[in-house]
C-alpha cells in the first residue's frame, strides 16, 4: 500500500511543520495565559513580521535566519507598544472590549498591508533554498530542518525565560492572581505589555523561519492562525510545553490525515482532535503551570 511506504517521511514532514506551528502558537498561549484574552490580531501580526523579513532580504540582502534577532526585537517593540498604547486604553480593562480591539487591529493591519504592498504574493530566493538533507528514510529540505531545530531552541529559551527569570516569575504571578501580584508590588500593566510584547516577538522569530518555506501576502496570517488557536486549546491555554507538544501533534495529524484521507479531507483530523479535546479534556493536554 502506497501510504505505508511513505509513512515515515510523512511523519517526519508533519513533525517539521508542527514545530513551526508550535512557535506561532507559543505567542498566542502566552498572551492568553497572562492576559486571558484571545488575540485576534495574531495572524495579521505574523503577516507583518513576514513582510518585515521579506523587505530586509529584498532591500538589505539580509538572510532570514540572520534577521531573527532584529525581527524578534522589532516585533517585541510593536507588541509592547500596541498593548501599552492601544489595547489597554481602548479596552478600558474589559475582556470583551479587548477582543473587539484586537479584531479591529487585525482588520486595519490587513487592509493597510493590502493598500501598501498589494495582494501580490512574495517569496525569498535563497541560494540554499533547494538544498535537501538525506535522513535515510526521507529527504528533508534544509530550510525545514533549520526551522524545526530553531523552533525547538526558541521554545526552550522561552520556557527558560518564563521559568527561571524574575520577569518570568512576575508574568506567572500576574497570570495566577492579578490582584495579589499588584499587592506585592508588581506593575501589572507593565507585565501585560511585556507579555504581549514577548508573545508578538515569537511571531518575529516564526516569520524568519517560515518565509524560506512559504510565501507572504496580506492574507497569509489567516492560513496559520486557525491552526494556532487549535494548538493552544489542544495543549492547554497558557502552557508552553502544551503548545509545543500540541504543535507537533497537529503537524503530524495534518500530515497523516492528508496521507490517508486525501489532502482535502485530511484537515478533518485537526478538527476532530480539537473537538475530542474539548469534550474529554477541555483544559488541554497540559494544564497551564502556575
Amino acid at each position: 500500500m502506497l501510504e505505508l511506504t511513505i509513512l515515515a517521511p510523512a511523519l517526519i514532514n508533519g513533525a517539521m511543520t508542527g514545530a513551526v506551528y508550535a512557535l506561532i502558537a507559543l505567542g498566542l498561549t502566552l498572551v492568553f495565559g497572562v492576559l486571558h484574552i484571545i488575540n485576534f490580531a495574531h495572524g495579521s501580526l505574523l503577516m507583518v513580521a513576514m513582510y518585515g523579513v521579506f523587505f530586509l532580504n529584498r532591500h538589505l540582502g539580509l538572510d532570514p535566519y540572520l534577521a531573527i534577532p532584529i525581527m524578534t526585537a522589532a516585533m517585541f517593540a510593536l507588541g509592547f507598544g500596541l498593548q501599552k498604547s492601544v489595547i489597554s486604553r481602548a479596552s478600558h480593562g474589559r475582556d470583551e472590549m479587548i477582543l473587539l480591539v484586537t479584531l479591529g487591529i487585525s482588520l486595519i493591519i490587513e487592509n493597510l498591508a493590502l493598500y501598501l504592498w498589494s495582494a501580490d504574493t512574495r517569496n525569498v530566493q535563497l541560494p540554499y533554498g533547494f538544498a535537501v538533507v538525506n535522513l535515510g528514510v526521507a529527504l528533508v529540505s534544509r530550510t525545514r530542518l533549520i526551522a524545526f531545530v530553531a523552533a525547538v531552541v526558541l521554545s526552550a529559551l522561552l520556557w527558560l525565560l518564563i521559568d527561571r527569570t524574575d520577569l518570568g516569575k512576575a508574568i506567572r504571578a500576574v497570570a495566577r492572581e492579578k490582584q495579589g501580584a499588584r499587592v506585592v508590588g508588581i506593575d501589572v500593566e507593565h507585565i501585560y505589555a511585556m507579555s504581549f510584547g514577548i508573545g508578538v516577538a515569537c511571531l518575529g522569530a516564526a516569520a524568519c523561519l517560515l518565509l524560506p518555506i512559504y510565501y507572504v501576502n496580506p492574507q497569509v496570517g489567516n492560513v496559520f492562525v486557525l491552526v494556532a488557536f487549535t494548538i493552544v486549546v489542544l495543549g492547554g491555554m497558557g502552557s508552553f510545553v502544551g503548545a509545543f507538544a500540541g504543535g507537533i501533534i497537529i503537524g503530524i495529524a495534518e500530515s497523516l490525515g492528508g496521507l490517508f484521507l486525501g489532502e482535502s479531507l485530511g484537515q478533518i483530523g485537526i478538527f476532530l482532535i480539537f473537538i475530542a479535546i474539548l469534550l474529554f479534556r477541555p483544559t488541554g493536554l497540559f494544564r497551564a503551570r502556575a
Binding site: 510523512a10 514532514n13 493590502l114 501580490d120 517569496n123 529540505s141 492574507q219 492528508g258
Partner: protein, 409 residues
C-alpha cells in the same frame, strides 16, 4: 414722427438678442448645452481580496484599461458618446460574498456585468443574472457549469475547461509522439474547487483515449500550506508526466517542493496551470520554471494591438497575465455589443452578444460564433517556459519555438 419705429429700426430687439446669444452659446459650448448622454453602468466584480487577490487585481486592471480606452475614444458612439461607468465590486474570493455583491450591483441598475474570475463564484452570479435577465460576460470562469443553454444571458468569449481539456490532451499526445511516445504514466494534482476539480474530471476522460495511464489523481484545498506529502506520493508513483492545475500561490509552492525533493519527471504539463503561463513565475522562479508546459489562455503574439497592450500593461509595472487581457477583451466585447445593440437596455445587449461575430479581439482564436453563450471559435494555446520567456509551442500557426520534451535532466 415714429420715435419708437426709428428705434426699432436701429436697435436689436430683445428677441433677436436672446436668439443670437443662444446660437453663440451652442456653437461655442456644445457640450454644456447639449444634453449629456447617460453613462452605461457596467458592474465589474473580481476577487480583490482573499486567496485569489493577485488574480483579481490583475483582472480589474485589465477591465479598467479597456474602460479608459473606450471612454477616451469617445464612449459608445451609437448612444451619443455615452461613457462606460464601471461599478466595481470585490467578491473576496468567496461565493457568498460574490452573490451578495452581485445583488447590490443589480440593484444599482447596471446594464451588464463582467467577472467574476473564479468558476465557483461564476456559477452563482450566472444563476442570478438569468433571474434578472442581466447580460453576464464571463471574464475567465472556465467551468462549463457557468455558461449553459439554460442561462441565456451568460456569455463567455474564452474557452471553457471541456474544450481546453480536449485540446490539451490531444496536444500532449502530439508532444509525446514528437519524442517517440516515451511517456505513458500520468499523475494529476489539482486544486479542489470547481475550476480544478472540473478540469481534472475532463482530463480523466480524455487521457485514456490517447493511451495514457492515470496512476493517481489528487485534489488539494485552497490554500495549501505544505505540498510535502503530495510530492511524496508523486515520487512513489513515479509518473512520466505530472499534470497540475491550481491557482498561482499553490502552483509555485508545488513546483518548488518538487524541485526541493529532487523529483525527476519527463515533463510537467499544466492544463490551466496558475503559474506556467505567468511572466511573474518565470521572473521569480526561473530555474524551477524551465520547460514546464501549460495549455492555457494566451494572447495572439502576431497581433499588433496585443503587443501594444502588452507594452502599456508592462509600463504600468504589471505582469501581462491572462487575467489582464481576458478582462480587457471581455469589456471590449461588451462595448462592441452595446454599440451593435444601439441601446443600454439589458435585452438588447443580450441579443447583440448572442449574435456577435466580433473580430476586433487580440486572442489566437478562430472566427467568433456564439452557441448557447459560448464562443465556439475560442481555443487555448500550449506554452512552454524556455529561458526567460514563455513560448507558444502549439498550435503551429501561432508557434514561436520548438517543443522541448522530455525536459532535460
Amino acid at each position: 414722427m415714429d420715435t419708437l419705429g426709428k428705434e426699432r429700426d436701429s436697435q436689436i430687439s430683445r428677441r433677436q438678442f436672446v436668439v443670437a446669444t443662444a446660437a453663440t452659446a451652442v456653437a461655442a459650448f456644445p457640450a454644456v448645452l447639449r444634453a449629456q448622454a447617460a453613462p452605461v453602468k457596467v458592474g465589474i466584480m473580481h476577487p480583490i481580496t482573499g486567496f485569489l487577490a493577485y488574480s483579481g487585481n490583475q483582472c480589474r486592471a485589465g477591465a479598467l484599461m479597456a474602460v479608459e480606452e473606450i471612454n477616451a475614444g469617445g464612449g459608445i458612439k451609437a448612444l451619443g458618446g455615452a461613457k462606460i461607468e464601471p461599478l466595481l465590486a470585490d467578491n473576496q474570493s468567496k461565493v457568498d460574498v460574490g452573490a451578495s455583491e452581485f445583488e447590490k450591483l443589480n440593484e444599482a441598475g447596471i446594464s451588464a456585468f463582467v467577472g467574476p474570475y473564479a468558476s465557483a463564484i461564476g456559477i452563482s452570479t450566472s444563476q442570478a443574472a438569468t433571474r434578472y435577465a442581466l447580460p453576464h460576460v464571463c471574464d475567465v470562469t472556465v467551468s462549463d457549469r457557468v455558461v449553459a443553454k439554460d442561462k441565456p444571458t451568460t456569455f463567455r468569449f474564452s474557452p471553457g475547461y471541456t474544450s481546453i481539456a480536449e485540446t490539451a490532451i490531444s496536444r500532449l499526445d502530439e508532444i509525446n509522439k514528437s519524442a517517440g511516445g516515451i511517456a505513458k504514466k500520468v499523475m494529476m494534482v489539482h486544486e479542489e474547487s470547481e475550476s480544478g476539480a472540473g478540469t481534472q474530471k475532463m482530463l480523466a476522460k480524455e487521457l485514456p483515449k490517447y493511451g495514457f495511464d492515470i496512476v493517481e489523481t489528487v485534489l488539494h484545498p485552497n490554500p495549501t500550506r505544505d505540498f510535502s506529502n503530495i510530492v511524496l506520493r508523486i515520487r512513489a508513483r513515479n509518473p512520466d508526466i505530472l499534470i497540475i492545475g491550481n491557482y498561482y500561490d499553490e502552483y509555485v509552492l508545488l513546483v518548488r517542493t518538487l524541485r526541493q525533493q529532487q523529483v525527476r519527471l519527463k515533463g510537467i504539463y499544466s492544463v490551466l496551470g496558475g503559474g506556467a503561463s505567468s511572466f511573474r513565475f518565470v521572473r521569480e522562479s526561473a530555474e524551477t520554471a524551465q520547460h514546464i508546459m501549460d495549455t492555457n489562455h494566451w494572447y495572439n503574439p502576431l497581433n499588433p494591438k496585443a503587443l501594444d497592450l502588452r507594452k502599456r500593461v508592462e509600463a504600468k509595472g504589471l505582469d501581462f497575465s491572462y487575467e489582464v487581457y481576458l478582462n480587457y477583451n471581455a469589456v471590449m466585447w461588451l462595448a462592441d455589443s452595446i454599440e451593435r445593440a444601439r441601446s443600454a437596455k439589458r435585452e438588447a445587449i443580450v441579443e447583440a452578444l448572442a449574435t456577435s461575430t466580433w473580430s476586433g479581439h487580440i486572442l489566437p482564436y478562430g472566427p467568433t460564433k456564439i452557441v448557447d453563450g459560448q464562443n465556439t471559435g475560442a481555443m487555448a494555446a500550449t506554452l512552454q517556459v524556455q529561458g526567460n520567456d514563455i513560448q507558444v509551442i502549439l498550435p503551429k500557426q501561432f508557434a514561436s519555438a520548438k517543443i522541448v520534451f522530455p525536459a532535460p535532466a
